[in-house]
């Protein structure tokens, strides 16, 4: 039993004990973890684009984006990149983990209302986008036309395949454009990098907001393309990644200039990024 009589509810640095209630294999190196409190509730109420600090007791903790949320759970899709994520990938449902959060500013959901939305994602970058895509589909009438452009290295590296090929394509006034860097024998979709596909699809900037998440190099090229296409830098939103420890703007780790990515970020518009020193 959990003997838990301390003030950690008010101590933001002490994790809440939670349970991984389900593990879904997305790709060979990415899994989605469904997380609930020990009594089957939602650990906290995140806004789309916010982050969670997830720990395995005895191994360590790291910051991940929250991919989705339901009545009684949050989901985080996590790619295997280091020691902690290796350990996470080896756990099975029922295991207890530590969770603290939610952290960060999240996407400016009110500011997006009334606009057409273009989501541009690469690789695991669809994980943070998915929280916002789900939010906009759940509140469909608040948003205009929705385009989702997503790419990965190969067909097997595409995450959230059910959403990409089933759930989202069925939504009203929603188009999903999928591309892969390299096709396999059965792939009959587009082949090419995300920035190139973005140029090819030639989206019109009028009344449209763009949200871009993915590897830094993809973000860079997509941003340049979007600016060329005539998008205002205030209308292009992206997320930054920095190493994080505390998540609450104290430990000093994640600063770019005077901003702390864990607190003031991870979501910024391109015009806000222009005001930050180039140290990403």
């Amino acid at each position: 039993m959990i003997d838990h009589s301390c003030s950690c509810e008010d101590n933001p640095l002490i994790p809440k004990i939670c349970v991984v209630s389900d593990v879904i294999e997305e790709t060979p190196d990415t899994k989605t973890f469904r997380i609930q409190t020990v009594d089957g509730k939602k650990p906290f109420l995140p806004k789309p684009g916010q982050l969670a600090m997830i720990s395995i007791f005895g191994v360590g903790e790291a910051m991940f984006s929250i991919t989705a949320q339901g009545e009684d759970y949050i989901d985080s899709a996590i790619k295997k990149v280091g020691v902690l994520t290796e350990a996470l990938h080896s756990i099975s449902p029922g295991q207890k983990i530590g969770v603290r959060g939610p952290y960060g500013n999240g996407f400016p959901i009110e500011g997006l209302e009334g606009f057409d939305l273009l989501f541009v994602g690469g690789g695991i970058g669809l994980a943070p986008l998915r929280s916002l895509i789900r939010h906009s589909l759940e509140n469909r009438k608040n948003y205009g036309h929705i385009d989702i452009l997503y790419g990965a290295r190969s067909p097997e590296d595409l995450v959230f395949k059910d959403d990409l090929f089933e759930n989202w394509t069925k939504q009203p006034d929603t188009i999903v454009h999928v591309t892969v860097d390299k096709a396999d024998a059965v792939w009959d979709g587009n082949v090419g990098f995300v920035p190139a596909y973005l140029e090819e699809l030639a989206f019109q900037p009028r009344n449209r907001k763009v949200i871009v998440c993915g590897p830094p190099i993809m973000i860079k090229y997509c941003s340049e393309s979007l600016v060329r296409m005539g998008f205002d830098k205030k209308d292009v939103i992206t997320t930054l990644e920095m190493r994080m420890k505390c998540g609450i703007g104290k430990c000093g780790r994640c600063n770019i200039g005077s901003k702390y990515i864990c607190l003031d970020g991870p979501v910024f518009t391109l015009s806000e990024l222009d005001d930050l020193p180039d140290e990403k």
Binding site: V81, T85, E241
Partner: protein, 328 residues
């Protein structure tokens, strides 16, 4: 009110039942704040070699312990001793104000810090004899004054003027009772040993110098030892880590330094500050520009410790002067 120097020990004794007293002293060959043993009080320390930041922000601090054999159990340490820090200098007192901003403001309160802070009082001592590398008056401080302290002591040859500056300070002063006599102490204005060309518009100027060649120069000289951040009274970066034996362990935090190459390295290997140039730039920028932007004051209080201790002779006062000379 005045307190004769010869009565100081007696005065401290009067409050030592209710408070732990921390005084400047010598320990393992360095001067630092340490628990008072009731012995003689040495007031000859200027600012201690190690800053008093560890009183509120220990070098290593346990956050919680866990057991994970069959189930996870998290227990947190409770800690709340009432303490008085005696003899803290104005620069270090200002540094505590900077730490307060970091740990107590901007959305989240750091409970580990705030619990200690609430139970810690400060009796500061104005400087009459500045150390050879301090430059606090260039950084907007007054060597004889420590406005954030609960009590300020102004030193003369044979006595202190005792200025209670907060309600808690008044209560402490009342404990000194009959040892206090009426009167004031006359002191002449003290001025710091080092001067810099620090100015109100330097933080803003620096923020426009991110790509300036000045960083190549300072980056080359630095050897990345992190002495500067270790001895700095305002450097507050920390790491979170754990120590476990079998299924039991503790999670702790400990001082870290932005001068280490691993500090910003991410799990995938990317490092946004790959060389000493970016790291020195971050430290100076944080001290002299970023913190001003975020919290409204500099994060350097002019204590001079890094100037004194850097093995590569990097000198923040020289850096400030160079920046002041730069034409943009």
């Amino acid at each position: 009110m005045k307190l004769l120097k010869k009565d100081l020990k007696e005065a401290l004794r009067l409050i030592s039942d209710d408070f732990e007293l921390l005084l400047p002293g010598e320990g393992s060959g360095v001067s630092r704040f340490a628990l008072w043993d009731g012995g003689d009080i040495d007031l000859s320390y200027g600012n201690t070699q190690l800053p008093p930041k560890d009183i509120l922000f220990p070098h290593t601090e346990k956050m919680y312990s866990f057991k994970c054999a069959t189930d996870v159990e998290v227990t947190e340490e409770a800690e709340a001793k009432s303490r008085i820090v005696f003899g803290i200098r104005p620069c270090d007192m200002r540094a505590i104000e900077c730490m307060d901003k970091v740990f107590l403001e901007k959305g989240f309160t750091d409970s580990f810090y705030s619990r200690k802070r609430e139970h810690t009082l400060f009796i500061a001592m104005g400087c009459t004899n500045p150390c050879r590398t301090c430059f606090c008056d260039s950084m907007g401080l007054t060597p004889g004054d420590a406005p954030a302290a609960d009590i300020l002591l102004v030193e003369s040859d044979d006595s202190f003027e005792v200025k209670a500056q907060t309600q808690r300070g008044k209560e402490i002063a009342e404990c000194f009772g009959r040892l206090l006599t009426d009167g004031k102490v006359q002191v002449s204005k003290v001025s710091c040993a080092l001067k810099t060309k620090m100015s109100d518009d330097l933080p803003e100027k620096l923020s426009g110098m991110f790509e300036h060649p000045i960083w190549d120069e300072v980056g080359r000289a630095c050897i990345g030892c992190a002495t500067c951040t270790y001895v700095c009274p305002t450097c507050y970066c920390f790491d979170i880590s754990l120590d476990n034996h079998g299924s039991e362990g503790v999670s702790f935090r400990c001082w870290d330094s932005c001068m280490f190459s691993d500090y910003t390295r991410m799990a995938g290997g990317h490092n946004p500050r790959p060389t000493k140039k970016e790291r020195v730039r971050n430290r100076y920028m944080h001290k002299l520009s970023y913190f001003n932007e975020r919290y409204g004051s500099a994060l350097c209080v002019g204590c001079g410790r890094c100037v004194e201790k850097c093995p590569a002779n990097l000198d923040i006062t020289e850096f400030i002067d160079k920046v002041a000379e730069v034409r943009l």
